[in-house]
């Protein structure tokens, strides 16, 4: 199993994801520069968080046209796991690999804090180590994380069980307070129909070592573990 972590100009969680893969999980992983990329030989790809191209124009929109995205697209078509975290999620949406849009947070401010996520779909290759309805703790850190999709799109998302994570209270219930950015239906993460592309705003790599969690939890680690279980 070998994972590529893409480095766009302005990515800033690339080394963090790489650290979790290599030092915490002991997986082979490489940082792959967006311009020289060829993803042959990789079994999965992660688009990390950050501010690719400074979020200029619109978050993720410039990176979506980067040379490496052709390769990412090929991986998607081949059914390989493709995970986009935060800015990586925004890039996947801008590249049309996931539906919907990520808009400015409802409070018009950057928000960095730990939130609770309810697992809505545990049948993806990223989430099968969770129980359905399980509540996870992970931090968010973004300015443009308010998920939106038109009513027809939302209907489709639901029909194909593509809503993977929702923001909730610690007990799994919803409140206005538990939705940190005003996302439609408190959506925090979605997948494509085939289930091999996952995008989420929270940072699982920041919730993968007990020492870094205010709760001593490692809820994010299971996403990476699930990918590894695929083998390759």
């Amino acid at each position: 199993m070998r994972i590529a972590v893409i480095v766009f100009p302005g990515s800033n969680c690339d080394r963090d994801v790489h650290h979790v893969l290599t030092n915490v999980l002991g997986v082979e992983a490489d940082l792959v520069w967006h311009a020289e990329g060829d993803l042959r030989g990789y079994d999965g790809v992660i688009l990390p968080g950050g501010f690719s191209y400074g979020d200029y124009l619109r978050a993720g929109v410039i990176a979506a046209f980067s040379p490496i995205m052709r390769e990412v697209r090929r991986m998607v078509e081949e059914g390989k796991p493709v995970l986009g975290i935060c800015n990586g999620f925004q890039i996947l949406v801008e590249a049309g690999l996931l539906p919907g849009a990520l808009m400015r947070n409802v409070g018009l401010k950057f928000v960095c804090k730990w939130v609770n996520l309810r697992v809505e779909n545990n049948e993806t290759i990223f989430t099968r180590r969770y129980a359905k309805g399980q509540v996870l703790r992970m931090p968010i850190a973004h300015n443009e994380g308010r998920y939106y999709i038109d009513p027809a799109g939302l209907k489709e998302l639901k029909e194909h069980n593509q809503i993977v994570f929702r923001y909730t209270e610690p007990d799994g219930t919803f409140s206005e307070r538990s939705n940190p950015n005003g996302s439609l239906e408190a959506i925090a993460g979605i997948c494509n129909r085939r289930g091999n592309v996952l995008g989420l705003m929270p940072h699982p790599e920041r919730a993968s070592e007990a020492i870094l969690s205010p709760y001593g939890t490692v809820d994010g680690l299971e996403i990476f573990r699930s990918i590894l279980e695929l083998g390759g």
Binding site: G49, G54, K109
Partner: protein, 737 residues
């Protein structure tokens, strides 16, 4: 050089004379402008240098003290921690967003140009009252947004900070940034050009007209015209900075980078003279090689422009292309603009034409100005201010105190900062006073910056020493040992003897504390002229002290969370020292009284005592006592722990006459400790062995914070305390709660 004449210079007559004497001829306009930038107070420390010599700079961890872009301490196993403190006060006062953002950018490059990766930022902010002034609210909002947008984008976490509101900052907000970096000792690079023949490369953004005279602008008081000087504020581009950070670290890894300096105050002129003076060499540059943003820039403008996101690289001759290739990969512009020479001069050319030629050390060493100092009259008068009446409803006062912006939760601020990126932040903002970060060698550092302008105004000596003591308490409270400090000294116009007296007292206070506690100063900054002509007022003296604590292992790290059933102990005696306290100033409207005094011998014993308790892991929770006194500290602990406490005030070691004094006095040298019943007596025995007062004052239980004094009983629901504490700033800033 007609345009040059129009550029107004701040050089004094004596300074021009000095230049003339040293050169043995009339300096030309370009040389004058270069001296003007370099000899500005901001760059030269010409007023403060003699006093700053009081600060001790040596210590067992210190590799490099003040004088470079950042201080360097040894954290073991071949790793070093770099640290620096800076401010961007004047720019932020007229352009809060751009000023604050570029302040962050500047300090990141200071850390970067030591060859270390920036790993954390702290922000120390000062504004006027956000309860009464919409101007201050505007500044506060946009300064925080500027820091947030810049720090978040470059991917360096802002792990903590401190905010104080006081009317003296209404026109002159203070925006201080502390930055820390980590690297291998073997990768350190200095701002020196040591080898003649090496190439000088200018890397990063284009040189433009933004930031012209930034240093001179920062070295004068703000006037009614300052609003029109927005061109002196640079334009932030965090994405460009991020590319420079990655490209620089990759370039250093080639081993061909022999010197590195960021372009900050004074622009190219300052950077060139410093690398030459420090390396005992000379430099020769051709201005036609400098990539410009605008075509028709005058040589003076090119030399003193403070355009952001630029670095000066000294690259081993013959390896320019190897380094340039890395910059191209990141889309970072670079140009060889000249070479290192052996003639100890700075030679500025346009093609073959020599525009300026001046000794590098002459420029790098401004003539010192010895300022006179005079104790202001108000100091003795205000000290004698009569005590206010003790109010009846102390529970109500406590709630009022918790909702003061100076004491209330700063969640509104730190939630806008990414404090997690980099996977190093172990104790995060809101959890503990000091942030704790893990290092690559398995050790931990705690970082904290403190200031207290209200104390310093009334008693600069004890105020400044007290600020230092408070920062130390914060790093001790999480279980780390203070190993080094940085200071940032912010005052009004130094030519005013009363201002200069407060400056001198503050430096003395900090130096005496540093010497007594054996905590070396590894860097600092001085910012004068924080006053404006409109109101004719200077800011209150605002020394800020940042302290670095080190812990060998995770086991000793402690938070401030109490479980029900835990015993509550207080360390240290409470004295009637309410001068400059939040209680006097905001509840009673009284500016005056006796400021908390610092007892250096006691502090020494206290540090050793606390480290012993922490290292034996006897304390399950620790909180330091500062603003708002014992009552505010206990209230915050209850809020964070989600548990009540019953406190017997008769048990608190004190020398006070009234209950409100015990509750709200800001006496230094105190901690609250949470301990299991079985460890209680051991903690007290350790304290006794250091001759430090320590008593059990209560227990964590229930849902209310209760103070009993025999005659009075004060009782407030923790829920109510929390509402007051958490909602105050969002409410003032117009956000829903």
């Amino acid at each position: 050089m007609k345009r040059a004449k129009q550029l107004k210079l701040n050089l004094t007559e004596e300074e021009v004379d000095h230049l003339r004497r040293e050169l043995g001829r009339e300096p030309n306009d370009l040389e004058l402008a270069m001296a003007d930038a370099e000899w500005s107070e901001h760059c030269s420390y010409k007023s403060s240098k003699p006093l700053l010599k009081l600060l001790p700079t040596q210590g067992k961890h210190v590799i490099l003290g003040p004088g470079y872009d950042a201080g360097v301490v040894d954290v073991g196993d071949g790793y070093v921690l770099t640290a620096h403190i800076e401010s961007h006060n004047h720019p932020s006062a007229i352009d809060p967003y751009g000023g604050a953002a570029t302040g962050v950018g500047g300090i990141l490059r200071d850390i970067l140009c030591m060859g270390t990766r920036p790993i954390a930022l702290l922000d120390v902010l000062r504004f006027g009252s956000i309860s009464t002034s919409s101007h201050s609210k505007w500044l506060f909002k946009h300064v925080v947004r500027g820091i947030s947008d810049y720090g978040n984008c470059v991917g360096v976490p802002t792990v903590g900070g401190e905010v104080e509101f006081d009317e003296s900052f209404e026109r002159n907000c203070l925006v201080d940034v502390v930055c820390f970096g980590v690297g291998k000792r073997s990768d350190l690079v200095l701002a020196e050009a040591r080898y003649p023949g090496d190439s000088i490369m200018l890397v990063g953004g284009l040189t433009g007209r933004d930031g012209l005279h930034g240093s001179s602008f920062a070295s004068a008081v703000l006037t009614e015209k300052s609003e029109q000087e927005r061109s002196a504020v640079q334009i932030p581009d965090p994405f460009a900075e991020k590319m420079i950070i990655e490209a620089t670290l990759e370039a250093i890894a080639t081993g061909r980078v022999r010197g590195l300096k960021d372009l900050g105050g004074g622009g190219l002129s300052c950077a060139l003279s410093e690398v030459a003076a420090k390396g005992s060499t000379g430099v020769e540059v051709d201005l036609t090689k400098v990539p410009l943003r605008e075509e028709d820039m005058h040589p003076i403008e090119i030399m003193i422009s403070e355009s952001q996101e630029r670095m000066l690289f000294i690259v081993q001759g013959g390896y320019e292309e190897e380094v340039a290739k890395i910059f191209r990969k990141y889309g970072v512009r670079c140009a060889v603009i000249g070479k290192v020479t052996d003639d100890k001069h700075m030679t500025i050319k346009r093609g073959e034409e020599v525009l300026a030629r001046i000794r590098a050390d002459l420029l790098a060493n401004a003539p010192i100005i010895y300022r006179s100092a005079k104790k202001p009259q108000y100091i003795d008068e205000l000290r004698k201010a009569p005590k206010p009446e003790e109010p009846r409803d102390l529970a109500q006062r406590l709630l009022q105190l918790l909702s003061l912006p100076n004491i209330a939760s700063k969640q509104w601020v730190y939630e806008q900062y990414d404090h997690e990126v980099g996977l190093k932040t172990v104790f995060k903002p809101g959890q503990t006073g000091a942030a704790v970060l893990r290092l690559p060698n398995g050790k931990f550092i705690a970082v904290r910056a403190d200031g207290n302008s209200k104390h310093c105004f009334l008693d600069p000596y004890n105020g400044a020493a007290g600020v230092f003591a408070e920062a130390c308490r914060n790093v001790l409270a999480v279980g780390t040992e203070p190993i080094a400090m940085l200071d940032h000294l912010q005052f009004g116009d130094p030519s005013n003897p009363e201002v200069f007296w407060t400056f001198s007292e503050c430096v003395r206070g900090i130096a005496d504390y540093a010497k007594s506690l054996n905590i070396p100063c590894i860097g600092g900054k001085v910012s004068f002229y924080n006053e404006d002509r409109v109101s004719g007022k200077a800011i209150k003296p605002t020394p800020v002290v940042a302290v670095i604590g080190l812990a060998e292992s995770f086991d000793v790290l402690t938070k401030c969370y109490f479980d029900a059933g835990m015993r509550v102990l207080v360390v240290g005696e409470t004295r009637s020292e309410l001068g400059g306290s939040e209680y006097y100033e905001s509840i009673h409207g009284l500016v005056g009284g006796v400021v908390p005094q610092v007892d250096f011998d006691y502090e020494k014993r206290l540090h050793r005592c606390m480290l012993k308790i922490m290292n034996l892991r006897l304390a399950k929770a620790v909180e330091d006592v500062s603003k708002g006194g014992l009552a505010a500290a206990l209230a915050e602990v209850c809020i964070k722990s989600g548990v009540g406490m019953v406190i017997d005030l008769k048990e608190v070691p004190h020398r006070c006459e009234r209950v409100d004094e015990i509750l709200f006095s800001e006496t230094h040298g105190r901690f609250i400790i949470g301990a299991d019943r079985r460890d209680e007596s051991r903690i007290k025995r350790i304290c006794a062995s250091f001759n430090i007062p320590c008593e059990t004052i209560g227990e964590a239980k229930g849902d209310d914070l209760v103070f009993e004094s025999g005659v009075r009983r004060i009782e407030v629901k923790v829920e109510e305390l929390e509402r007051a504490w958490r909602s105050a700033i969002p409410r003032l800033m117009g956000d829903e709660v």
